[in-house]
Amino acid sequence: MTTTDTIQDLVPDKYKYGFVTAIDADTAPPGLNEATIHLISDRKQEPDWLRQWRLKALKHWLTMKPPHWAFLRYPEIDYQAISYYSAPKPARKDGPQSLDEIDPQIRQTYEKLGIPLEEQKALAGVAVDAVFDSVSVATTFKKKLAELGIIFCPISEAVRDHPDLVRQYLGSVVPYTDNFYATLNSAVFSDGSFAYIPKGVRCPMELSTYFRINAQRTGQFERTLIVADEGAYVSYLEGCTAPMRDENQLHAAVVELVALKDATIKYSTIQNWYPGDAQGKGGIYNFVTKRGACRGARAHISWTQVETGSAITWKYPSCILQGDDSVGEFYSVAMTNHHQQADTGTKMIHIGQRTRSTIVSKGISGGHGQNSYRGLVKILPGARHSRNYTQCDSLLLGDQCGAHTFPYIEVRNSSSRAEHEASTSKIAEDQLFYCHQRGLDEENAVALIVNGFCREVFKELPMEFAVEANKLLAISLEGSVG
């Protein structure tokens, strides 16, 4: 068997997390108009300002056209055929008070996913705000966090309990006019997480939300808002799995991060949504707008992502480096297989003086996968003495796949430096040969080399995630063995 054949065999495989939980969902009829907004706002008992904000976004969205610049191919989405609200029916009117009140089936689902929702799992030090479709079902560790003044709750709850904070920051990083998908999200966002870390507080545990898309034809539109006040520190984990589906599902989330003076936000994502089957049928369409603003001096935002799922990924976690000496980082591993397509990258906008950004992007393509890195580094005239370093590497695991790099570098002053490097190659025969020589078989050799290829990014992940990321990649690579 030739090496190419073997690699083809290694490239996967089945979606391990493909299952559907049959629970009653309170779902809105398909379609999007003002009535839909009122329905969502009514269900969620939202204040009027939020209702108006949603309506403004909808009005603007109706004037927009879906973007076509990305290196992606997919059929037009009929936005009127999608249902924009879905909530599991509450067991009691006042909602669950403890784990016992949670629908056992949902709990089973979490267990299958390995979410550490229960007490013994909490030893891992993870507070989980689990979003099951659109409404947050349970939040753990809330009390412990509350003692430190940290607010970590579903955003719908935050709208009720901390309206001033939400109103101040919602849409301040990603305005409702930002882009087609962000505007759609602003109009119909269902739920998501809100975190506020007060001045000088170091969040003692990793905050984590597991998103799952469950009900059929229900686009999920999370909205996440994380605010780190002066000198605060928080590390946030986002992990995604979704059940097996035949129909394409739309996901258009918005994540906003605000880091004030001396604050640090570390945002890590593992995305493993249903990628479609081997023929490219089905799979999630993932159009996400993620952006962080370093508002004060020495603020620090770091994005780490491992993207192995979704039929289509359209995602550019960005940093606006406003404060002097602020730092933006982006570490990414994106893997595309079968007929998956990913167009992902970052934007680093240098505004403050002596701002620094680092971009490390690793793309792996197999099967018929198309993987693109698209990034913007913009250094404005006032961002004197700024630095950027970008490295994009692509690994090709088959002769039908594609790897593309589209960086944009715009420098407007002479005291700054921007560097960009990119390479594309396949696994070298000599590397494989060396591994064979040391007694590794084909599969393990490929896994080892790919692992080494991604190492730079994995080491940025929190430990729990790094383990999961390795596992995910192993599943993707080892196929039958995994």
């Binding site: 090709l396 002769d399 796949c401 960086p407 420098v411 430096r417 921007a418 396949k426």
Partner: protein, 449 residues
């Protein structure tokens, strides 16, 4: 795209007037079709991805007229005046064009020109079918609106189809643009066909005769036959008012080797498109770009290299120096098509910013659809190494001269990849003249003849 509304009557009138000159039916048809295409495509705007950083507004708003050969011949130029632009290289043959029209009286005598080297207008008269065949072969790549406009005014240019010889001459195409009112545009095409195993060296040289506005919209098709070797230099040295838009299309056959050396030193608004297609196994393409801007120059380098066959090799180097309020753009894409295995492609864009008002936008891009490839690209934007400048100062060089020397050294990396000494010498002089302490600098770096 903006509908072609700005100068429609003008271009139509020009086309009507010029259609009378020389025209087999197919050519009239060709021009009409290209004009139609230009209308359909419309002017590119900054909303179109390939024109993100370059606005053609100044061109759209100016009534540039296209003149016929008669007006071009009226310009009084003496052969002595040409001496300043000559390269003075042994074997140099010069073909002079004024506003895009061939001037036999200023060019090397026909007897000195190799067989198959003539003006496009002449070739259209003598062997129109042959030209038509070459145009068909050449027009296989996607052409933008400006190329369509050029096609609508296909009148003259150089037609170089020399036979294979052991001592190929250096063909110097000198394009002179006059400053007239209303300002003039020249749409010329250079058709270069290199036979199997042949060699050719072409230096295209754009200069202004006055300080006024003019627009050059030129296309060069370079069709390199199997196992041939072609070198093509573009020296852009027009005045700061000039607009220069350009397409250089190189088509490489099996085992051919093509070098393209575009050097953009002059011009106000310059857009240079390079489209290279490696359409034969084992072909080799070198693109060695240099752009040096100051004042308010806008220099846009656009490049697309397509690897269509296996074992192709392409290297692209672009060195950019931007001072004062100059703006530079580099957008280069390497496309490796499915099946183009064992491709080796390397792209490097390095830029030096000399002032805070200067601006650089760079987009090195890779689009790869084959797995057994080695493709890399790199881009940097930065300023002079302060420590190196300080070192030179400690050796007694004044600050400005030290900076100029460092800047020159940076640009010289591009010059060193050019293997015709006369061109290197010429560019060295042009470059040092653009830097402070030009004369002292020239003395320090003058290459022995």
């Amino acid at each position: 795209m903006v509908a072609v509304a700005e100068q429609p009557d003008l271009y139509d009138r020009d086309l009507q007037r010029l259609q009378r000159h020389n025209a087999p039916d197919w050519l009239c048809d060709w021009r009409q079709r290209q004009m139609q295409r230009f209308r359909t495509l419309g002017w590119p705007t900054m909303k179109d991805e390939p024109w993100r950083f370059t606005s053609l507004k100044p061109v759209m708003d100016t009534p540039y007229t296209c003149v016929g050969p008669g007006e071009a011949h009226a310009a009084a130029i003496t052969p002595q005046a040409l001496e300043a632009w000559k390269l003075h290289q042994e074997g140099e043959r010069i073909l002079v064009f004024v506003d895009g029209h061939y001037r036999a009286d200023l060019s090397s005598p026909p007897a000195d020109l190799p067989q198959g080297v003539t003006s496009l207008a002449q070739a259209l008269r003598d062997t129109p079918e042959d030209v038509q065949a070459v145009l068909r072969r050449a027009n296989t790549v996607a052409m933008d609106a400006l190329a369509a406009l050029n096609g609508a005014f296909l009148l003259d240019g150089a037609c170089l189809q020399p036979a294979r010889t052991d001592t190929p001459p250096l063909l110097h195409l000198l394009y002179l643009a006059t400053s007239a009112a209303p300002p003039r545009v020249s749409h010329f095409q250079n058709l270069i066909v290199v036979p199997e195993g042949g060699q050719i060296t072409v230096v295209e040289h754009d200069v202004s005769l006055g300080a006024g506005r003019h627009w050059c919209n030129g296309i060069t098709h370079l069709l390199a036959g199997p196992n041939s070797h072609a070198r093509y230099y573009l020296l852009e040295e027009s005045n700061p008012q000039a607009v220069n838009t350009r397409l250089i299309h190189a088509h490489l056959d099996r085992d051919s080797r093509v070098e393209l050396h575009p050097a953009l030193l002059g011009g106000g608004l310059v857009r240079n498109n390079i489209h290279g297609v490696l359409d034969g196994e084992g072909s080799h393409l070198l693109v060695n770009g240099l752009f040096v801007g100051r004042g308010q120059q806008h220099l846009d380098n656009h490049m697309r290299i397509v690897h269509a066959r296996p074992r192709g090799e392409s290297h692209q180097f672009y060195q950019g120096v931007l001072g004062e309020e100059a703006q530079g753009v580099f957008a280069g894409r390497i496309v490796v098509q499915p099946g183009a295995q064992q491709t080796d492609a390397k792209q490097t864009n390095r830029n030096l910013l000399l002032s805070d008002e200067a601006r650089m936008n760079t987009q090195p891009q890779l689009e790869i659809h084959a797995d057994d490839v080695k493709c890399t690209h790199g881009a940097t934007v930065g300023r002079l190494d302060q420590e190196a400048v300080y070192y030179l100062q400690t050796r007694g060089l004044p600050l400005e001269l030290a900076q100029a020397l460092m800047t020159y050294a940076f640009a010289a990396q591009g010059l060193n990849r050019m293997n015709i000494a006369a061109v290197r010498r010429h560019l060295m002089r042009q470059l040092s003249a653009k830097l402070p302490h030009g004369r002292e600098l020239a003395q320090m770096i003058e290459e022995p003849v």
